[in-house]
Subunit: 253 residues, 2 copies
């Protein structure tokens, strides 16, 4: 049976997250039910590169679905984009997956963006897409602190209690903090992340940005490997899964 | 009575536009009713730099309100930002207006941005903030065509039938078209604009971007002064009023 790769954009607001759950609507369920309409009514099992949490957005999530018969990738993209209506889930690209390719396990790099609106007035235009932080943040200090976290480490201090990964060892390749006017943008890249890792990193860097902690503090938290020492978990609405890279890219239509 | 200047951000989606109307909720009504709570229950009359249409957004609209008594600009900003809840209208800045200043008539430059999402998939993250245009657009050709419209001209060809301005003479100072990935952004600046002028300009440039008309065509439409020759009126959701400049800026808190 042919395996397809899909690039998805979605607004996390209305969903319980990527993964199917008994207590609400997931991105996975909407996608699989849309695909069922092209698959003799059978919802195909899907796998995603990243199991985004409730409220987390994506502009470059990658998922795979196996269908009972071949369909041209461009037609698949168009049909799924139609059947996911009216939900805020769209299919940006589709491709026949290369042999042996897996949306989750073949990924060699994942990118996320975390947006903070750093001003006194609440967000009107970007409500639901940013974390509103009223107190002025020092982006330079946050960026400097972030550089001390790059590389291969045990990230236990920044890991959710519910994290199911066997090991907390991860290699953080990029963690940039930049100011764009009233907005602070955190860009994070790694082969893979632990559950809540980026949101916990952002919540920790926030304390540096507010001047409550020094630039060296996040590195000490990392080395302590104790979640209780780190900052808060930043809220989901600021986070967006931006891209996935593969050693062998699907031939996107 | 003290006159205040306010910088507003709002999402145009839920409103009939800036101006009060019998048939629905306006930004002006929400602002004036919020201000009434600081004004002995009397809604003060407000004037805006630009009377944005239904569905048009703002991140830098400027309005004035006259209150019965003095209040510190920062407290005014905070209180209005509170009382405009839960509507997507926020007060970014407030100031005591300079003597003789008028939000509308003292403005010397207005800036707008028009966003198009130029891809096949519908928008999920920026739904309501962009015009979705599926067919590929040539931003370079649109930009070149736009340069032929700069300067002082009779813009009758790009003016709404309902436009109330006495003269259609306007000086267009900037009309840039740039591609940012899947997005096309039009940046327009002038002392003032006619009703629907930017949306009609965008709808006209679109035909150049699609290759249906040559780069010189919008200039010929301008010179013809006939609205029937120009392109469609681009939908309101892509438009955002970004800034207003004054010869004498209020001392923003």
């Amino acid at each position: 049976m042919p395996l397809y790769a899909l690039t998805l954009e979605y607004h996390g607001g209305p969903f319980v997250g990527w993964q199917r759950q008994a207590n609400g609507l997931s991105v996975q369920q909407v996608l699989e039910e849309a695909a069922a309409k092209l698959n003799d009514g059978i919802p195909p099992a899907s796998i995603a590169a990243g199991r985004t949490d409730a409220g987390v957005h994506a502009e470059g999530q990658v998922a795979q679905i196996e269908l009972v018969r071949k369909i041209a990738p461009d037609r698949l993209r168009e049909a799924l984009d139609f059947h996911t209506r009216p939900y805020p889930i769209v299919i940006r690209r589709a491709a026949l997956a290369p042999p042996g390719w897996n949306a989750r396990f073949s990924a060699i790099r994942r990118g996320y963006r975390y947006r903070m609106l750093n001003r006194r007035a609440r967000p009107a235009l970007d409500d639901g897409l940013v974390w509103h932080v009223k107190a002025p943040l020092d982006a330079g200090a946050m960026h400097a602190a972030a550089q001390g976290l790059l590389g291969r480490h045990d990230f236990s201090a920044f890991r959710a209690a519910a994290c199911q990964a066997k090991s907390a060892l991860r290699t953080l390749d990029r963690l940039d903090v930049a100011r764009l006017g009233e907005e602070l943008v955190v860009t994070a890249e790694a082969r893979s992340f632990l559950h809540h890792q980026i949101r916990n990193l952002v919540g920790t860097l926030l304390e540096v940005g507010q001047g409550r902690r020094g630039v060296e503090w996040p590195r000490r938290v990392l080395e302590g490997r104790d979640r209780a020492q780190a900052g808060m978990t930043a809220p989901p609405e600021g986070l967006c899964f931006t891209f996935v890279r593969y050693a062998e890219e699907p031939d996107w239509a």
